[in-house]
């Protein structure tokens, strides 16, 4: 099983690495880091920190963008091009196919994050900005967030067109960053429906703010180990749930 998933993953990675979109977005992320360095010159204080903030924002923005815009075509393209016919006629379950595709793309996106992170480190060293454990922790959680976003994109890609899938994925990504605040605002509501509604939204939708250590990284605040491991565990669980749902939907599809 692992062998088959891995074969699928390697092939998906090979395909993703050929995507022009990937390089375009990677280029823009690096360009945005440079732009951030220029912008930070406008400030007369805390320049190094601002360079790092912009670089970090760029990593998050573009890795999520890559995740969504490549992820949404992941399954759909296979079905559209009918490559899925020969693949699924092999002793490979649809779930294995899906997980393989997911893993392959995720590995490539993680590679992108690593490239962007090394650029971040380079810029930081050049600016004489501090690099610390918190940066590493924040990057790791960005990687987890990306894993969740790729899973969402895969889910939507398994039953709808790339256009709709990107709407849905982006929408959920937005919502995922809002639910926490919405719940807190909702908690003050006099309507029980709003209170319960926002609370349930927070429970069900991906709580992507859990993976946000941007402020902590920015100021090198100390982060408790539990603030890294529990979100990571939460993310892994969420990915598992989404992929299982995606597999269930995918199993029922006719090609």
């Amino acid at each position: 099983m692992i062998g088959r998933i891995w074969a699928m993953a390697v092939n998906t990675a090979r395909e993703a690495i050929r995507s022009k979109l990937l390089y375009t977005l990677l280029f823009f992320s690096l360009a945005m880091m440079l732009l951030g360095s220029v912008l930070s010159m406008l400030s007369y204080v805390e320049r190094e920190r601002m360079v790092q903030d912009f670089a970090f924002a760029s990593i998050r923005l573009f890795s999520v963008a890559i995740a969504v815009f490549i992820g949404v075509g992941l399954i759909h393209k296979e079905v559209e091009r009918r490559t899925v016919y020969t693949i699924l006629s092999k002793p490979l379950s649809r779930a294995e196919f899906l997980i393989g595709k997911y893993t392959g793309l995720l590995l490539i996106i993680w590679l992108q994050v690593a490239i962007m992170a090394s650029f971040f480190a380079g810029v930081s060293l050049l600016m004489g900005a501090p690099l610390g454990f918190t940066h590493l922790a924040a990057l790791a959680l960005i990687a987890v967030e990306v894993a969740v976003v790729v899973a969402l994109a895969t889910l939507f890609s398994s039953f709808t067109t790339p256009l709709l899938a990107s709407f849905f994925s982006c929408g959920l990504w937005f919502a995922g960053h809002l639910t926490r605040d919405l719940r807190d605002h909702g908690a003050n509501s006099s309507s029980a429906l709003v209170r319960e509604g926002t609370a349930w939204m927070h429970r069900i939708l991906p709580d992507l703010e859990s993976f946000n250590l941007s402020i902590e990284a920015s100021h090198q605040l100390s982060v408790a180990a539990s603030d890294i491991w529990f979100p990571a565990l939460y993310g892994a669980g969420y990915v598992a749930i989404i992929l299982a749902s995606a597999a269930m939907i995918f199993e029922r599809r006719d090609f």
Binding site: G36, Y44, H185, I215, H219
Partner: protein, 316 residues
């Protein structure tokens, strides 16, 4: 024939393109394109909204609003005062979204001075800064300054500043400054008691020396106040002011038998009348024990107060 035709078509396209560019540019120049900042209409969203929509980019979003704040101050050739609300809103957003920022708190303290309301907004920001940077003496210093300088609340200024004493990097003069602030309302006894307590609570020889020096000055000030009382007595008896400090000992009925020392440990210092103010001062200190104010400080404070009274008068 064919290529000539193509060339002609190429020219036509080129002409159309140039015409389009010209029209676009002309149209663009015909309407007002002043930015919202330029119009003084910049709407700063509430910190809650910004935090909600920062979508995990909190740090960068805070930096963005910080750059806008700097842009207003840096780009403004006229008075900053008309932009102070926007500045306060911007710094509020910056510090709500990323409360661990450092400099923006003091930036607010420096620029939000137009009226009492603005100073109080600045103070609220500084208080937030203190709660996120409790070990930084500078925010406390600025807050104390605002209380003392703009709001005339010396006891509160002293309370705030007392919290800054002993923090890393805090200058040694903070404790004596607190003592001075206390002396303005509570009198010299309160100031002295505070300093004695500081002396007792520190192990640091330099700090101790600094505090003892301040205590010495208080003792001299006590003597100077005695001399002030004697001067008033002299006026009552003779119907005129002294010309020299020695006058207090002169005459058939001298007010004093002798003058106290003008310096506690060193000889060669005497009591003199300070030429500018006419006050009795020790030639060692050449000034009296109180908060120092420069001429410009005084003028500025005066202007600020007048304006404030004007605004309050209008309100009433």
């Amino acid at each position: 024939m064919h290529s000539a035709c193509l060339r002609k078509r190429g020219w036509l396209r080129m002409t159309l393109l140039v015409a389009a560019i010209a029209t676009t540019a002309a149209a663009h120049s015909q309407f007002d394109t002043t930015s919202r900042v330029g119009l003084g209409q910049l709407r700063v969203p509430s910190p809650d909204q910004v935090r909600l929509w920062s979508l995990g980019f909190d740090a960068a979003v805070a930096d963005y609003y910080w750059l806008r704040a700097i842009g207003i101050v840096g780009g403004e050739t006229g008075s900053i005062a008309q932009h102070e609300e926007v500045l306060a809103d911007l710094i509020d957003v910056v510090t709500e979204v990323d409360p661990w920022v450092d400099h923006p708190y003091r930036f607010a303290a420096v620029w939000l001075t137009r009226d009492r309301e603005m100073v109080e907004r600045g103070n609220r920001l500084l208080e937030r800064g203190i709660s996120y940077h409790p070990l930084d003496w500078r925010n406390r210093y600025h807050l104390a300054f605002n209380y003392f300088y703009y709001l005339d609340e010396q006891p509160r200024a002293a309370d705030v500043l007392e919290g800054a004493i002993g923090l890393e990097g805090a200058p040694l003069y903070l404790a004596p400054l607190v003592a001075r602030l206390r002396s303005e309302r509570g009198g010299l006894q309160v100031a002295a008691a505070f300093l004695v307590q500081m002396v007792e609570s520190t192990e640091d020889q330099y700090k101790r020396a600094e505090y003892l020096k301040a205590l010495d000055e208080i003792q001299i000030e006590e003597r100077a106040r005695l001399l002030d009382a004697a001067r008033a007595e002299y006026w009552r008896r003779n119907g005129r002011d002294i010309e020299r400090v020695a006058d207090l000992l002169a005459g058939p009925d001298p007010v004093l038998q002798r003058l106290p020392r003008a310096q506690l440990y060193l000889d060669g210092f005497e009591w003199i009348l300070e030429p500018e103010t006419g006050q009795i001062v020790s030639s060692y200190y050449r000034g009296r024990y109180r908060l120092h104010e420069t001429q410009t400080d005084r003028a500025r404070k005066q202007r600020w107060r007048e304006k404030r009274e004007g605004v309050e008068g209008e309100g009433a």
